[in-house]
């Protein structure tokens, strides 16, 4: 097993730099998720680890070894792709054993590894079947098995669940998390799905346009995003953003918007007071918009009125789409909420749960 270290790694295609000054340390046995929108450079970075793309500049270490010039087959890594390409005329056993045969592994050793991987993945009863007789989830497990038998130092997974339907994806997500604990190995996992990232990763690298935006644990990313992009990317429904002006009244900073005039929460007053007269970006997560009568009674100065556009009942709660002076805001209200489409509705922002961002730099102010 081994960790990975990126030191100032960049990747250029001709003059176009797609990964910029990438610095990161992935610890041994860590489950690291790269997440970001399409084109953010996450797959390119994964392919640089695999050796499928050359590193333009910088250094990449796997364990203690500098691997910039080490060919892919000697890097001791295994990849799992979105398309679980299996040999159609080989059995599951044959599919899992094939890579080891290519590497001239002794027969007895191949047998031991294949059976052990099959046991871990719970596919022992499928070893004699051919891919045609397997479901999508079972095929993906065979693809995982092919990687496991190699006993690599690092597993690289490139959106391995994207081809599965929603239900199976949730199931396999849990399977991979369990598997990772059993295998006790380093995993680098690429996805564009923030739910996968949040539920599976020890730490997450959020990327955009080839730059690392933030590296942190899932909860830290959620609670302390470093900029507007991370704040909007992590969390579903995503954080609401509204531009507000800060004013100072009797020493207390207030947030002013066409539809509201709200006092800054106590914990944030010291930071916001010097910004009086400036415009900042307010960020509030849907769960911190409240229409509970007791909450509003306790904080009457945190309330405002908004027009309800659409109510989406989710069962245990409702997603309510509101318009606040022509800006869109999403709230998560309890299922018992009285919010009705096309009516005005009274609600409150939890002022102690607000995030503030600099409009120009987009960086968090707190």
């Amino acid at each position: 097993m081994a960790g990975l270290v990126f030191k100032g790694v960049t990747k250029k295609y001709d003059q176009n730099e797609v990964v910029h000054d990438f610095n990161l340390e992935i610890k041994d046995k860590e489950f690291m998720v790269f997440v970001g929108p399409s084109g953010c450079g996450k797959t390119t970075t994964l392919r640089m680890i695999a050796g499928l793309e050359e590193i333009t500049s910088g250094e990449l270490f796997i364990g203690e070894r500098l691997v910039n010039d080490v060919p892919p087959k000697n890097r001791d890594i295994a990849m799992v792709f979105q398309s679980y390409a299996l040999y159609p005329h080989m059995t599951v056993y044959g599919n899992m054993a094939f890579g080891l045969k290519l590497r001239k592994t002794p027969k007895a050793e191949i047998d031991r590894r294949v059976r052990e991987a099959a046991r871990i993945l719970d596919i022992e009863h499928l070893l004699d079947r051919k891919p045609k007789a397997l479901s999508g989830g079972q095929r993906q497990r065979v693809a995982l098995g092919r990687a496991i038998v190699r006993e690599p130092q690092v597993f690289l997974m490139d959106e391995p669940l994207s081809n599965l339907d929603a239900k199976l994806r949730v199931q396999m997500r849990a399977e991979i998390s369990k598997l990772r604990h059993r295998l006790q190995t380093t995993v680098v996992y690429v996805t564009h799905d923030q739910t996968e990232a949040m539920t599976m990763g020890d730490r997450i690298v959020v990327m955009k346009d080839g730059f690392i935006q933030q590296v942190d644990s899932p909860m830290n990313l959620y609670n302390h995003p470093k900029n507007i992009f991370v704040a909007g990317f992590i969390g579903s429904p995503s954080m609401n953003f509204l531009k507000v002006n800060v004013t100072l009244e009797d020493g207390i900073p207030y947030l002013n918007h066409a539809e509201f005039h709200l006092p800054v929460g106590e914990a944030h007053r010291q930071t916001l007071a010097p910004l009086s007269g400036k415009e900042v970006m307010l960020g509030i997560r849907p769960e911190f918009i409240n229409d509970d009568a007791a909450f509003m009674a306790a904080h009457p100065d945190w309330t405002l009125e908004a027009k309800v556009e659409v109510v989406e009942p989710m069962g245990a709660e409702n997603y309510v789409y509101l318009s606040v002076a022509d800006e869109n805001v999403v709230a998560r209200f309890e299922a018992a909420s009285q919010a009705k489409s096309l009516q005005n509705h009274r609600l409150a922002f939890d002022m102690n749960a607000i995030h503030y961002f600099d409009i120009e730099t987009q960086a968090a102010l707190l």
């Binding site: 295609y13 159609p88 045609k132």
Partner: protein, 236 residues
């Protein structure tokens, strides 16, 4: 599978090999060209196992040319062959990367192509289009090349003028990303909003803003085509 290694990849040598191999009538399938970053004999071993029914197989340097026939059950109709052939691109690409760590690009021709030599030439052209217009993709099927074939025949300066006239520098990176996502999802508002992590109304606002700035409405089919081509050409 029959196999030949050709040193001189020209029609004469090709035809001579075709005769020498005494090819049976080719069953319906697709011509496939796999271009690898490096050649090693295990590549052919993997392809032979992955495409066990494949009839023809030639290797020339780092190029492997084959006539791939679909698995049982896929059927030989054009409708069935297209998704099968498209999935070949990602499957062969990931198979070679996974088993051998070899980076490859895969090109697939239509089953209509007459003759193996013309199939090979058509895939060669596809490889050139790929390098020019789709450098980030794992490969290309002929029917995915679309407008690229048309634009390939135009003078480079005309290709530069077109996006400049339509888009200029009017769009911010955010609006550009919005438009790209909107086109990638086949003009789906819901799916685009989901991928961009924004509210549907925010997306509509941004699309309206694009209309204001460029004079082309991405929600109108004909105007969307104009914007799509300009955006795509600007990115190539």
């Amino acid at each position: 599978m029959q196999r030949a290694f050709l040193e001189h990849w020209d029609e004469t040598a090709f035809t001579a090999h075709t005769r020498a191999l005494d090819l049976p009538n080719l069953s319906p399938g697709a011509r496939v060209l796999v271009r690898c970053q490096t050649w090693q004999p295990d590549i052919s071993l993997i392809l032979r196992n992955f495409l066990p029914q494949t009839q023809v197989f030639w290797v020339n340097g780092q190029e492997i040319f084959l006539h791939a026939t679909p698995e049982d059950g896929v059927g030989a109709t054009r409708k069935n062959l297209l998704p099968w052939a498209e999935s070949l691109i990602s499957q062969i690409h990931s198979m070679l990367a996974d088993e051998l760590g070899v980076l490859s690009y895969v090109y697939v021709d239509t089953p209509r192509t007459q003759g193996l030599w013309s199939g090979y030439l058509s895939l060669g052209r596809l490889a050139a289009l790929h390098r020019r217009f789709f450098p980030g993709e794992a490969g290309l099927a002929l029917w995915q090349a679309g407008f690229a074939q048309l634009f390939d025949s135009l003078a480079p300066e005309r290709m530069e003028h077109y996006p400049q006239n339509v888009l200029g520098d009017k769009l911010s990176p955010e609006l550009r990303e919005t438009l790209q996502t909107y086109f990638r999802t086949g003009l789906s508002l819901t799916e685009s909003a989901r991928l961009l992590y924004i509210h549907r109304n925010t997306l509509i606002y941004r699309l309206d803003r694009i209309t204001e700035l460029t004079g082309y409405n991405p929600r109108e089919f004909k105007q969307a085509i104009t914007l799509f081509l300009a955006l795509w050409l600007q990115g190539t």
